[in-house]
């Protein structure tokens, strides 16, 4: 690894009333990559995202973005540095149109000058929802809402996109469309970290897999290597000697 | 020294009544998540009904409690089913404003029917008093406190042991799960409202016996209930009792030692401060949703 990693997580832990949701997780994300974090339900994937984006404060450990410590920083400050997040359960601004939703991302997000109009258009085009621009967000389908979620995140001009299960609950056609969108976003220079359940899409799109189980990292490597790892298979299916 | 004790004793009597007057508000808030700004009106309806019936029939006002509670139970059920249920799924602000609108209408009707003047209910033992260890107790106040505590206990037992109480608690904790188990949530909401209205009415009678009242008081009793709930916690008679007693003591102490016109300042100051200091602990969901 020549360049410094865009995101570095060191010994990150989070306890809820003594219950360890994340325990000493460390990893580094290389700029320009697509990394997927997988793991069974309750493994702590969403908590990990919440810790990175400042939504929760960690019990211990450090998060560094572009070599800058962001641990415990306010969520909006982290967004200003260039980290964006797409929620698993889409949270559109319901009373606003698709265009207005994405425009909020373009107006705010990463600090620095921008052409709001052009950034909004580009976000909608990258996420393939430009044709829905004038529709009110509360009329969109689940699949379209996911795209809106991604478009709004991208419009913040983020360098790092954390996408929480963008393919969950989508049919195969919609999943393929979403994978295509993620590829295009990466090609535009954005680093992506996914939490995803849908294994075929994970295997197809990711450069690297991180596996969480019960709050701890149990595997890290290229998709095909990790998928064959006996510990990963045990975590998903339960090991025979349990 | 004895002044302090007397003040505290007065505060406890007042507090018991505050608790009874707030318990219905607390229940509705805990189960329906509706801030019922017409609660004070329900309290006053109880007081006026007791005034009218006890004068017409020549009975002790406290004896009208069962009849008044029955009337308000029915009215509360209908009120919830016909009006509040329609706004409950919208925004909390919507349901709150709805109850406020109803409060204004009913207050206006009350002024037409009963005039805006102060009224009071005077039982036969109004001026009797006795003293224990140098502290004076009015017979009215003691009977009012006793009635409050008995009613609160009844409600606590009802919620804890009756099938209705179980369904109400289940609905409050897991509305969806209760629905999946075959609970008719609208019916339970309406029953909760009915119980709450009945206890508000009973509180009104007890209040009417010891304090003068007028249609304009409704806002005061609603705010009192709100403060009690913030002080003591949502949804339980025990919380209401704790909050009520605290508020009663704070009020009498302020009136005695700061100035007779200051209890309202203290009350609102307490309300604001508590909302700020303990929003999570006391009011579980103060921060949860933005609307």
């Amino acid at each position: 690894m020549s360049a410094a990693p865009i995101l570095q997580v060191d010994g990150l832990s989070k306890s809820f009333r003594g219950l360890r949701a994340i325990s000493e997780v460390s990893f580094a994300i290389e700029a320009g990559s697509i990394t997927s974090i997988i793991g069974p339900n309750g493994a702590g994937k969403s908590t990990l995202f919440n810790l990175i984006t400042g939504y929760l404060a960690p019990t211990a450990g450090d998060v560094r973005f572009r070599d800058r410590r962001i641990t415990g920083m306010a969520t909006n400050r982290i967004a200003e540095l260039g980290v964006a997040r797409a929620f698993q359960i889409a949270r559109p601004f319901r009373d606003l149109s698709v265009f207005e939703n994405v425009r909020i991302g373009a107006l705010f997000g990463k600090a620095g000058s921008r052409d709001v109009e052009a950034t909004t258009r580009r976000g909608m085009e990258l996420a393939a929802i430009a044709h829905l621009a004038d529709q009110p967000a509360n009329t969109l389908t689940v699949g379209q809402l996911r795209h809106l979620e991604v478009a709004r995140a991208i419009a913040t001009r983020a360098d790092l996109l954390l996408a929480d299960e963008p393919c969950a609950g989508l049919n195969p056609t919609e999943t393929a469309a979403m994978i295509e969108v993620l590829r295009r976003i990466r090609a535009s220079g954005v680093t992506i970290v996914l939490v995803e359940h849908d294994m075929p899409s994970v295997m197809e799109v990711s450069d690297r897999l991180l596996v969480l189980d019960a709050g701890a990292m149990i595997a890290d490597g290229p998709p095909h290597e990790v998928a064959g790892d006996p510990r990963v298979i045990a975590a998903y299916l339960g090991s025979p000697d349990d | 020294m004895s002044l302090v004790v007397q003040t505290l004793a007065d505060g406890l009597v007042l507090g018991g009544i505050y608790a009874l007057a707030a318990v219905g508000f607390s229940l509705i808030f805990g189960v329906l998540h509706v801030i019922n700004l017409s609660h004070g009106i329900l309290v006053l309806i109880g007081a006026y009904l007791a005034l009218v019936t006890s004068q017409a029939l020549g009975v002790d006002p406290l004896l009208t409690i069962p009849a008044v509670m029955a009337v308000l139970f029915g009215a509360g059920y209908a009120y919830q089913r016909l009006l509040i249920q329609r706004a409950v799924d919208r925004s909390p602000l919507g349901s709150m404003l709805l109850t406020f609108g109803v409060a204004l209408m009913l207050q206006n009707i009350m002024i037409w029917v009963f005039s805006p003047d102060m009224k009071s209910i005077t039982p036969s033992y109004a001026f009797a008093s006795f003293s224990v260890a140098g502290i004076t107790f009015d017979a009215v106040r003691v009977s009012a406190l006793a009635a409050s505590l008995v009613l609160l206990l009844c409600l606590a037992l009802l919620l804890k042991f009756s099938p209705l109480g179980r369904v109400i608690r289940a609905t409050a904790q897991q509305t969806l799960a209760a629905q999946l188990c075959g609970v008719n949530v609208k019916h339970v909401y309406a029953l909760t409202f009915a119980v709450s209205a009945a206890f508000a009415g009973a509180a009104g009678i007890v209040i009417g016996v010891i304090l003068p009242f007028s249609p304009a008081d409704e806002a005061l009793w609603t705010m009192n209930a709100f403060v009690v709930v913030v002080l003591g916690g949502v949804g339980s008679p025990a919380g209401a009792l704790l909050g009520g007693l605290l508020l009663g003591i704070v009020n009498t102490l302020t009136a005695q030692y700061v100035g007779p016109s200051f209890p309202n300042v203290t009350m609102f100051l307490l309300l604001v401060l508590l909302l700020l200091v303990r929003p999570n602990g006391l009011l579980g969901n103060a921060f949860s949703a933005s609307r």
Partner: protein, 323 residues
């Protein structure tokens, strides 16, 4: 949104100029109604900067009317030798300043509360201010304060204050419009829609909420100062009014919550209904306001503008070819 940006302020100023002709053509009763309409509209818009744009519906904005009015009165009476115009300027500066200080101090803790908790806590703030104003002798709340007359001798005071309210209301409206179309305004809107998501997108939610709160409070306070001069003599009860606290919500609800012009429409309508239609039926006011509130919540939560928008959407759907 597709209108050219200069059109809206031109419309606002043009409407204000037309209204300014009122005193020349209307009988005195309607000038007084007009006064109340324009004053209410100004308050409604000031309230909506926080309550409508950012979704923090205050139930205690009368606090700022009261604090502004009393601060202005107390100071103006120390400088009563000044010319009326200077005195008003002084009063506005002091009243606005007092509201700025109070709101900035209250904003930090109280804006942590959300939804109805914020509303009720603001009611508490209003009552604390009112009671302190009433019971601490220094503020002369129970005794009352006189305000020196402002209107030139040649002019009917009713006309004078109508124009003064109109000027103030127009300025408030223009400020609201500037906010509405700015980045700040878009941020407030996103806070109303979903505060957590807004923060995730980089909206500095805390700072924006506080700023909106202070702006809204100061504008309300300035209108309160003018109101006090129009009354000429105020006590605690005449400025810290719970019906004001309520009406400010009803204006927005009636016209259209979270819109730019809704509060103005709502204020004009409600004042017209209560003063003109129900003018003689004073005993009926509470009932009518209550009924209106119930009907609005149940029947038209979007207010007048919501109903109009609904018609438009339906008509478009009817004329557009099926998909």
């Amino acid at each position: 949104m597709k209108r050219s940006p200069a059109l809206v302020p031109l419309l606002i100023v043009a409407a204000a100029l037309v209204l300014a002709l009122g005193p020349f053509v209307l009988p005195p009763f309607y000038v007084r109604v007009g006064q109340l309409m324009v004053y209410s509209a100004g308050l409604a818009v000031a309230w909506a900067i926080l309550g409508g744009f950012a979704g923090y519906a205050s139930f205690g904005h009368a606090a700022f009317i009261g604090v502004g009015a009393f601060a202005a009165g107390l100071v103006e009476n120390q400088f009563s030798a000044l010319a009326p115009g200077l005195l008003l300027a002084l009063g506005l500066a002091v009243g606005g300043g007092a509201c700025a200080v109070l709101s900035a101090a209250v904003a930090y803790p109280i804006l942590r509360l959300r939804g109805t908790f914020f509303s009720i806590a603001m009611l508490g703030v209003c009552h604390v201010c009112a009671e302190v104003n009433n019971n601490v002798d220094f503020f002369q709340g129970s005794m009352g304060i006189n305000f020196p007359p402002l209107a030139p001798a040649s002019m009917d005071p009713a006309d004078f204050f109508f124009w003064l309210y109109l000027a103030a209301g127009t300025i408030v409206m223009l400020i609201a419009w500037l906010i509405w179309r700015s980045r700040f305004g878009a941020g407030l809107l996103s806070i109303r829609e979903d505060e957590d998501t807004a923060r995730m997108l980089g909206v500095p939610t805390e700072r924006y909420k506080r700023l909106a709160f202070v702006i809204s409070a100061v504008l309300t306070g300035l209108l309160g100062v003018i109101y006090a001069h129009a009354l000429g003599y105020i006590t605690t009860d005449s400025v810290y009014r719970d019906d004001t606290n309520l009406n400010l919500i009803v204006f927005s609800l009636l016209g259209g919550m979270g819109t730019l012009f809704g509060p103005v429409i709502g204020a004009f309508l409600l004042v017209f209904i209560t003063q003109v239609i129900l003018g003689r039926l004073l005993d009926f006011h509470l009932f009518a306001t209550g009924l209106l509130l119930v009907l609005l919540v149940l029947g038209a939560p979007g207010g007048v503008l919501g109903v109009v928008r609904g018609w438009r959407v339906r008509r478009r759907a009817a004329t557009a070819p099926a998909e």
